[in-house]
Amino acid sequence: MKILVVSLLRLGDVILTAPIIQGLSKKYPNAQIDLLINKQFEKVKFLFPEINEFHFFDRQTLQDALVHPHRPILESFDRLKLFMKSISGGQYDLVINLTQNRLSGHLMDLIDAKEKIGMLIKQPAGEVSFGSTWFKYVNDIAAAGAKSIFHYTDAFRFACAVEQNGYRFNPTSKQNVKPNGVQKILIQTQTSDAKKNMDLSILQEAMALYAKAHKNVCYRILSAKGESGPVLSLVENLKNQNIDAEIAELDLPEVLSECFSSNLLVTTDTSIKHLAAGTSIPILEIALGSSDPRKTGVYKEGSYIIQSREQCVPCDHRKVCHRSSHVCAEQIPAEFLAAMFQIAMHDDRLGAATLADEYSDQVEVMRTHFSKTGFWRADALRSTARPKVLEEWLDLAAWRFFLDKDHTKNLAPYGTESFKMKEMFDRGLVYGDRNSLRIALEQIEQTTTRSEEKVHHLISEISRRVRSGVALPHVDFVDDHMLNEIRSVELEMDLGDSVSSRVIHARGAGIRSIRLVQNALNEIFNHQQIKLKLVRTLKTQMTEYI
């Protein structure tokens, strides 16, 4: 069997293909797995011993030839044609597109393969297909701004039906030795997106506080080669306070080696975070700006993520920050950050929960874990977040049920699923106190029933309008009043604009387009029904247990 995995986004996304590739390698031990990535990331080859052949998409050369007036106008066309022919020559049985963008969708159409999953834009009609309910979910629900969503890696993993929680990189040959009695802390402050950068004065204060409270702390400030400029003064100021700090200009293999020999990595949303998640190092992620830990948080058990609780977080990565200052970074108190160094280093859950409550007006503290139900979560640890966390668990469990089509089976495994959840609650995860858990379940049952009824009403009303107006080719099946109703349901269920965005498309476009809206509503209705069944089964199991 020959499999091609396509990942044409940034370095972090390429590194995050590791759990998929490692999972595929276990699932198909005799398969030949190839990887198509952007040429600029050739340097990641050492991370993927499972890969038989790498294909490098030379984006830069294609772009240069497209925009340079002294290059033939058809040069890029001919280059791309040749490149895609060489890929198709691989005669793949399965091609998996882990890139949810239009470029990769068009390229997928140019690859000959027996089976393709992931975004595909089929010409000549330009129809978009996904080959998997999970990829469709990423496009229609996760990317539409819904709140309860799967980590992208989980969604891709489920789409490929691979069982692989987390991933592991092999230590490089030039492994550094962990110094005895010294706490070596790696700090990654800078990203390619200024909105995700840490506030260096707060960081400096936190580092100084931590170093004063603990003996033998040594900081290594990571930087790409030749890009250490912004952190020079940070290191100078720390040195002036007699704190052991130095800049480490390292390439990827060197960073990997450092991760195996250090005690903690403090990082923003960077490729370094994903690299470190494949090693043994504890990680503290500081999610700033457009970083959305729900989608791309550190994919590893027992890591901590902190994020400002400002309303604008996470922001749209395409837009400039509209605030007068970088509030999400400035709002993280230095003493809190210093305390989190210790908590993350020792995976101190109780300490984290206490700190989460203490600073709950400013910062969200989350701990990552792989659940018994099979997916990654970064759960908020403050006690007031518990009902919301529980609801998110149920939402995700219901989505997984729906997307894997478990609900269509003769003996749908509601009992097994809710039993797994109960086991987690018994271990004190998600919820500590059984009585408040029961009350929260009651409330979730009530709100879900209400939402289900509202969605059902919308479906019935649209069907009625379609039946009465079917002969009219250009009629608005969804008027402003109904659109508002849909938006209110979306808001209530934290679904982003997953339905209303299709309504705008469908307006005045006739019967075919309204089907998209009906399908979206039916999906949500099914999801709510599954969620209700899970809640009720769980409630019964809780009662039986007591």
Partner: protein, 207 residues
């Protein structure tokens, strides 16, 4: 008037109307530097199209450095071509020479027409081009296909694209160059799926 003169290193070089087409000191070294200075040169093209035969040394150097590439040389002046042939003979046997005084007729050459179906690079030998700037500028434009007239000529040689593009597409201003967006806007409704996917994918790279 055309003459052969001997350079200081002993090699023969051409002089056309009193203008040297190569270094009179060390034409081989000059050719080597010329190849090194071609920023658009890389090994990922199939054909190198050179405008101007000069004294032929730059063509020899290209053959040496890029043995996997086809080399095609466009030279307007038949006399220069004859001299180059006399000087280098079989050593330039793998170079295809095109000699046509009408720039738009250059594309009628079968080897060049076939070469245009795969990535190619256009290189300019400046001393040769100086002899007739207008002619070579036109050949250059034709091979780049960035202007409306040149694009139309170029597309005539491309069966794959000719069928996929509308005969008359979105208008481009007189001094405006064509871009990938122009090409996409000219895609015919029944365009071949492969061409459509390729052009739409490329458009995504410049959005």
């Amino acid at each position: 008037m055309m003459e052969k003169v001997r350079a200081k290193d002993g090699h023969l070089v051409l002089k056309y109307q009193g203008r040297l087409l190569s270094s009179s000191v060390d034409p081989i070294r000059e050719a080597s530097i010329w190849v090194q200075n071609q920023s658009s040169l890389n090994h990922s093209v199939s054909t190198l199209i050179v405008l101007g035969a000069g004294s032929g040394y730059h063509l020899l150097e290209l053959e040496k450095c890029f043995p996997e590439c086809k080399v095609i040389c466009v030279e307007k002046n038949g006399e220069i071509l004859q001299m180059v042939d006399e000087m280098h003979g079989v050593t330039l046997a793998n170079v295809t020479f095109i000699n046509n005084t009408n720039p738009t007729m250059v594309l009628q050459n079968g080897k060049l027409a076939r070469a245009l179906l795969a990535p190619y690079t256009v290189l300019t030998h400046e001393p040769s081009v100086q002899i007739d700037k207008t002619y070579y500028a036109e050949v250059n434009d034709l091979l780049f296909g960035r202007q409306e007239w040149a694009y139309r000529k170029l597309i005539e040689k491309r069966d794959d694209l000719k069928r996929a593009m509308k005969p008359v597409g979105a208008a481009v201003g007189e001094n405006e160059l064509l871009s990938i967006k122009t090409l996409v806007s000219r895609l015919a409704d029944d365009a071949d799926a492969e061409v459509k996917s390729l052009l739409l994918a490329l458009k995504e790279l410049v959005v």
